[in-house]
Symmetry: C2
């Protein structure tokens, strides 16, 4: 009958890992690439198309602009990758943009970076799960009307795997990631071979289907359109920073492994992006709204309808779902950094049974589910909100790194110095690195402004609103913790200043029975001034309590029975009033003790059969200063030998069954 929650948890999550075995849960480079890079790699499923679908309004002739724009995006990616490799090497404890900004730019920029990244990680989950559902519903249109439910189910599944631990999720998620990368790389390889006419293969088909321009733009409007196309391509940058936050998840030597993984990720993502863009523009493929995706068109033209085509299709859908995993890796980790510094609830730094930040994982799942529901799992509608946060964090991170390089530059050869969060050494190449960081920061800053400007009315305003609100929330939380720390501080504490405890024990009772007698007995141990307080709402209750009280002369000896006659039904008010009066008038500035006889039924369901007076009274009194609350539970045994026999024996008068 009873549900064994620990057992269910054990089966679902697995057996707890000891803290000391944390090192065995670290990721090797192969798993780490799968875990952290699923988002940037999955971007290749749509990044080329994102550029093309903007340019197409100028007609199919203008699509040749896609490649130069993609090369621009790729250059930006390289710059960011380089910058983050520097970050990883300089901040081996991880933390990415938040830590870098905190260390070099101050609290507000670091909170901005933190808020921006958290926003983006949430959107990563919502967007990628919805994109995965779209891929699925394109294949099986019958399930379209269940898309929100499917997306939520996917979130539940990914949440579950992540709660089982980093290593386990790494193992599970490795296969689809590498299968996708392998499939697309093979397709690109065959495509290039056919394009160059190697091995005597048939040359690639080239489509000269002309789509007329739906508009003709000149001057500023033309540049604006190119900027929007570029901004569209920049979704390829999301998730690049993921590794920098998760350095601590790598096997030692952490930062070197992380840096190498970063290089591998950059290389893979760029090969895919440039390869897909090059081939699809050479073949003059044209994006079709609500139609077949560019990646699918390209694969089909290159490989035919064979097994490779279906391979790429299936793993595209899977990796779109799995891109969510990047959010699952970094949201909880970044939240734990913020929590450690007192900007988010402290419990977000607690690690669960499997050494992952379980609370962060659950919070992420809940918020991203809400967004999926609000947007009806339509990732197209979410895209304008996406990639903004990440671009802001790039800007701040690189600005911070350029400052750090300035500090490095001030060191003499061989010298070492400490910043608040890390240790720096002299580096010969600091000037080059700094220059690159400055250029990178300015470029990503400009892209950020372009993103906000081009997508503002489509939804970017939501993010522009959310980030400052998050920062404000961080500050409110921080102030609260400071206040708590100050109040609890023992800095100026003298051992004599503790408040006195008054020699009084107040026992609220509803009736005289075994439960209340036990509480009275306990109260007599505490104090020589015990007062049993009973609220009588009818004359019958008044009379009954007096009669029953008289039956236990030995136990009630020395206890004052206070009966409060009350003409309303709400017994809580007079009880609390009595306590307040005693507290204020008789024992001002002292701790008053309340002994609450509490009736504990055998199971939770049975609780609904009883007044919750004891619970409500405790909650009410807890808000009072100078009150100590003692619960004296009285249990009803779960097993009764014979209900019938007992029922006969039950004294009808004692049938009230309420402790207070």
């Amino acid at each position: 009958m009873a549900i064994d929650i620990p057992e269910i948890k054990r089966v679902l999550i697995g057996k707890p890992f000891p803290t000391s075995q944390e090192i065995h849960e670290r990721l090797d480079k192969v798993r780490a690439l799968a875990v952290f890079a699923s988002d940037p790699i999955s971007s290749n499923a749509y990044a080329t198309e994102a550029i093309m679908s903007v340019i197409i309004v100028l007609g199919s002739g203008a699509l040749r602009l896609t490649l130069p724009l993609a090369i621009g995006v790729a250059a930006l990616v390289l710059m960011v990758v380089f910058s983050y490799i520097q970050t990883i090497l300089h901040y081996p404890d991880g933390g990415g943009a938040y830590t870098v900004a905190k260390d070099n730019l101050g609290t507000l920029p670091s909170l901005l970076a933190g808020g921006a990244l958290l926003t983006d990680y949430i959107l990563t989950v919502s967007v990628s799960v919805s994109a995965g559902v779209r891929a699925l519903t394109s294949a099986v249109p019958e399930v379209f009307e269940y898309r929100v439910a499917i997306a939520l189910l996917a979130i539940v599944l990914i949440t579950w795997v992540n709660l089982r631990g980093v290593r386990e999720s790494g193992t599970i998620f490795a296969l689809p990631t590498y299968a996708f990368v392998g499939g697309v790389l093979l397709t690109i390889g065959i495509g290039m071979a056919r394009y160059m006419g190697l091995f005597g293969m048939t040359p690639l088909p080239s489509f000269e289907e002309t789509v007329p321009a739906t508009t003709s733009l000149v001057g500023f409007a033309y540049i604006w359109l190119l900027l929007r196309a570029f901004a569209g391509g920049c979704t390829a940058l999301t998730g690049i920073e993921a590794i920098s936050n998760g350095v601590k998840a790598f096997k030692p030597p952490e930062s070197h492994n992380a840096a190498k993984t970063m290089v591998a990720m950059g290389a893979i993502a760029m090969s895919l992006f440039i390869g897909i863009t090059f081939l699809s523009t050479r073949m003059h493929l044209v994006p079709v709204e609500h139609g077949e995706s560019i990646l699918s068109q390209m694969t089909r033209q290159i490989t035919g309808d064979g097994i490779l085509y279906y391979w790429v299709q299936i793993f595209t859908a899977l990796i779109l779902f799995l891109a969510a995993n990047t959010g699952y890796q970094d949201f909880p980790r970044l939240s734990s950094f913020l929590a450690k510094d007192g900007f988010m609830p402290r419990w977000m730094q607690n690690r669960g049974d499997r050494l992952v930040y379980s609370s962060g994982i659950v919070v992420l799942a809940v918020i991203s589910s809400i967004i999926v529901i609000a947007f009806h799992a339509d990732e197209i509608a979410m895209l304008p909100l996406y990639a903004l946060g990440v671009m802001l964090s790039f800007t701040l991170s690189q600005a911070g790194m350029s400052r750090l390089m300035g500090k490095v530059g001030r060191l003499k050869p061989g010298e070492t110095a400490y910043t608040e969060n890390t240790q720096i050494h002299y580096e010969r190449t600091w000037r080059w690195k700094q220059a690159l960081n400055v250029v990178g920061s300015i470029t990503t800053g400009v892209v950020f402004i372009i993103l906000v400007a081009t997508k503002f009315v489509d939804g970017a305003w939501l993010v522009a609103l959310a980030i400052p609100l998050l920062v404000a929330m961080f500050n409110v939380i921080h102030k609260h913790y400071q206040k708590v720390a100050h109040t609890l501080s023992t800095e100026d504490f003298s051992e004599d200043e503790l408040v006195d405890v008054a020699n009084v024990a107040i026992v609220p009772i509803a009736d005289v029975h075994r439960g209340t007698l036990r509480a009275l007995q306990y109260a007599k141990l505490l104090s020589t001034d015990v007062r049993a307080v009973c609220v009588a709402t009818t004359p019958e209750i008044h009379e009954r309590i007096e009669r029953r009280w008289a039956r236990f002369p030995k136990l009630t000896a020395g206890i004052e029975l206070v009966i409060i006659d009350y003409d309303y039904r709400d017994v809580l008010t007079p009880l609390v009033d009595y306590v307040d009066r005693v507290n204020r008038l008789e024992f001002d500035e002292q701790l008053v003790t309340i002994v609450i006889p509490e009736f504990v039924p055998e199971d939770v369901l049975a609780q609904v059969l009883h007044n919750q007076t004891a619970n409500i009274l405790r909650r009410e009194l807890r808000n009072r200063e100078d009150v100590i609350i003692i619960d004296v539970p009285y249990h009803i045994p779960a097993v009764v030998e014979s209900n019938e026999a007992k029922a006969e024996a039950a004294e009808p008068e004692a049938a009230e069954g309420e402790a207070v």
Copy 2:
């Protein structure tokens, strides 16, 4: 910022009434009729049509059968009214079928009657609110898609008015009830005058539109159809018993006022029913599925499209909504009877600020809302479930009354006797009354079987399932209360048998700060064997707690510091294990005291910023036998003079802010 819930409640519900003023909240006959009779009176809006819409399949010619069937229904009503007048006079404390069955037939029949009536009261609310919404959406079809929301809003409104007190709801609901009765009676009067050619009025139009029979039935099938039509008309009987449960709501002399009101109700309901049926069959009106109702057709033909027509239409819609009020009167009252006898949660007998059974009202609102949502506010779909319960309760109630009359018959003239629930005197006419009750019981029993049989597959099976389930629930609840009564009973209690309290106080601490120091200080008052228990999940925590402990030599003198090194993050398990070990190994069969330092933040929102360890620990330990729990709350003051200054002063080390 803080929401003042008592203040909001005061505004919504009104100021509390003292218990002693209950008598002023009683109803006079005019208000009582409006409150209790809205359901049976409102049935006239559809009862005639319910008969006709079954017969019409035999063609419009067969509609002449409507009047005899209606007269049959009316005869049943008169019999039931007579029976209930007897009940009211014999059971002046109210209780209707439940009390009568309990007193004369035993527990199981009384629970059957109770379960049947509760089911029907819930359906009264769902059906009548949905019917009111249908009347509204017929007039304003644009709001059709919001019908569930409108129905729920209506439930909220009726709930609110009922929570404000019986008298107030009586006053508010009187107007529409009397306006409906007056309007329809006037229409019938004009119709009869025109029918009889009085005052030289134009004779009534007579429509000879022939609807062909869609089926031709003979033998059993024909009788089955007539039975179904009769069963449809029996919805007119719902709510007739309402007054019998609510005798205590009347001004004294309660039973005489209630009986008079019952007579008035029967007279009004029957005049309307027979009047409407007579006139509409004389005019050969034909029911139109999804079209204009019979009542509306009749009113329009008699009065034209004038003000009286709209009057009747508006108040028909209103009284359909208000029929729900009958459920609101009787469900809470009947629940309180059942709760008093220990068959429903005891808190259902508590009366709220305005002396109504608030919990019952809220429970009714919630359950009927769920049914409205489940049936999409479609009362046609709910009708097969309806009127079953009431018919079963009529059967049981009259069977009980015939038994009571048997007891009366055994008395000698002038003699008085007591049954369990009432007092009986000799009555000369007992034989007649008994005969009528037997006939009534058999008739309503047969009708009950007809109702179940004719509507079983359409949904009556749900009720046939719900009633036994309710009875089973009543029994489970009753067993629980008996067990509680037995356990708490002081019958065989000796003052010496109370469990000893062990000389030990365990104080779980997470850190050494003002909060935990206060708890330790309190624990020292209780026992000479105080143990501060801290779970160290890392070596740093172990070292830190020892260092801080040493800073307060005076206060910690004589206290044993127990540090448990633990390689998992879940600190609760080792704490509970420690308590269990101490309890079992050192102080078996004694009460062990746990002092929990609990951190109380200034507001509820701030609670989410803290681990709920203290709360979870308390909940866990409450389930253990022989444990006393002491909460030593430590408050964070809400107002801090200057956050900036304090933040500077805060000792970083004490920043954990968790009491346990």
